[in-house]
């Protein structure tokens, strides 16, 4: 205990330094919990939490693809887009290296949280099987942090800001920002609960949260900018798509 109080400064410095090193690995995937980190009971717990959300996504998919046959291919392609976005290295100035956005804010805005969770589950499974990003045993935990929390945070932020007439760019930016930060917050909870062993949860949770700060705070801002850029591009080039996906009302799309 003496160590934990008298060396708080050291802990902070160590966590910052270790997080810098963590992201020096060229393809570090900050949002993905690595295969095997979680013990069996926690891996099972997060999988059980994820199942109803994925089932909800499948139910929505079935309903929507019965109306429009092109919806299933669209969801497949959106999953490919999310896969590519979450594999793309983007520079994080404060860490002096590259990290990766999660892309769930974008899919949350465009296709709603239910389908977005399904899209994330698909992208995560392919990454786990063939790229060792995330894992089969942490698939449930990754779906909850990236899919459920990321999609809901992005979708709800965007809808809330649009309902009070905030412009598209700012709404998109905030949606991307909160989707990223919600994911990183949930990942910290999952990691701390999974690796705490006999230690207390809260101290470890704070340490992991602090370790994420150098990359995830700026990355959230970058993801916000990326989401805003995407929404603006769609608004300029194909406003009809935003109306079709119920992102905008028809009268708002008239430019």
């Amino acid at each position: 205990m003496k160590f934990q109080i008298s060396n708080f400064k050291f802990q902070i410095i160590f966590l910052f330094i270790s997080s810098f090193f963590l992201f020096l690995v060229d393809n570090a995937h900050a949002m993905h919990i690595s295969e095997g980190i979680l013990p069996f009971n926690w891996a099972l717990f997060w999988s059980v939490i994820a199942v109803p959300f994925v089932a909800w996504g499948l139910y929505k998919l079935k309903k929507l693809s019965a109306i429009d046959l092109s919806f299933k291919p669209l969801v497949g392609l959106m999953a490919a887009v999310v896969f590519i976005i979450s594999c793309m290295p983007i520079p994080v100035p404060t860490a002096g290296t590259c990290s990766h956005p999660c892309g769930t804010g974008i899919s949350g805005i465009l296709v709603g949280p239910a389908i977005s969770i399904l899209i994330t589950a698909v992208a995560l499974l392919i990454q786990a099987l063939f790229l060792a990003h995330g894992g089969l045993t942490t698939w449930g935990a990754d779906i909850v942090s990236m899919g459920v929390m990321g999609s809901f945070a992005g979708y709800l932020t965007f809808k809330a800001l649009r309902s009070i007439k905030i412009n598209l760019a700012v709404s998109g930016f905030m949606a991307g920002l909160f989707a990223d930060w919600a994911t990183y917050f949930t990942t910290s909870v999952e990691l701390a609960s999974g690796i705490k062993g006999d230690s207390e949860f809260m101290p470890l949770f704070w340490k992991i949260l602090i370790a994420f700060i150098p990359t995830q705070l700026p990355l959230g801002i970058l993801e916000g900018a990326m989401t805003a850029g995407m929404v603006i591009l769609l608004y300029k080039k194909r406003p009809d798509l935003l109306v079709k996906m119920r992102v905008l009302k028809a009268e708002e799309a008239a430019i």
């Binding site: 400064k9 050291f10 095997g36 392609l77 490919a80 970058l222 989401t227």
Partner: protein, 250 residues
Amino acid sequence: MEIFNEQFKKDHLLSRVDARVKLGVSLLVLAMVLSYKGLAFPLLILCVSLAVCVRIKIPLKVFLLRFSEPVFIASVVILLKFLFSGQEAMFSIKISGVIITGHKDGLMDGLQIAGRILGAVSVVAVLGFSTPFTEIMAALSWLKFPKSFIEILMLAYRYIFVLLEDAMVIYNAQKNRLGYSSIRRGLGSFGALTGSLVLKAFENSQNITTAMIQRGYDGNMPMMKHKPFRMSEVIASAAIITAMGIIWKM
């Protein structure tokens, strides 16, 4: 994406084994690795998996790429647990007024988690290196994964390569026009790149649907038919699982 190159195109013993058997064995071994309290079993699994990777001639570069991230995460976890977790002090040094204490129980916990990470990653690596994607999909459908989910997986896998090529063309064009010369321009370019990919996804989905309908698509895609299990494979996998189970229990 180099790691995406299909290693399983090579003909070897594991590539001929039924994907359902490989998936079943992998999932059971993963459950054992995760639930094992100690270091010995995950390390044994790691050694066996590494030997299999060498035997099926996985190129060193692909192998290192696959393990670089998990190894680094495992190292950070060991350090975190060693310095910040545990009660039993192993050593204590004072550097510039800061006392750094390493904990024996923290180190043991860290090693256990690191062993679990490496053991589990190696199992999934062997599965990924030895099984084509379509066979894994067929195995998932045999495990009663929802059909719609597998259809989306197959569509996504197919179009990752198409969209990735588009993304590279757009990215190179942006880069040649100094689209990433400053942080501000880079952000704008990256947003435009993402938006273009989404636009392509929407446009391609319409074209794909039209092409699929012309080929008789009615909202459901056909799945690979399951061949009957080969008795020799079932017996061999049961023997492997039993042996692993005995070691796990020891």
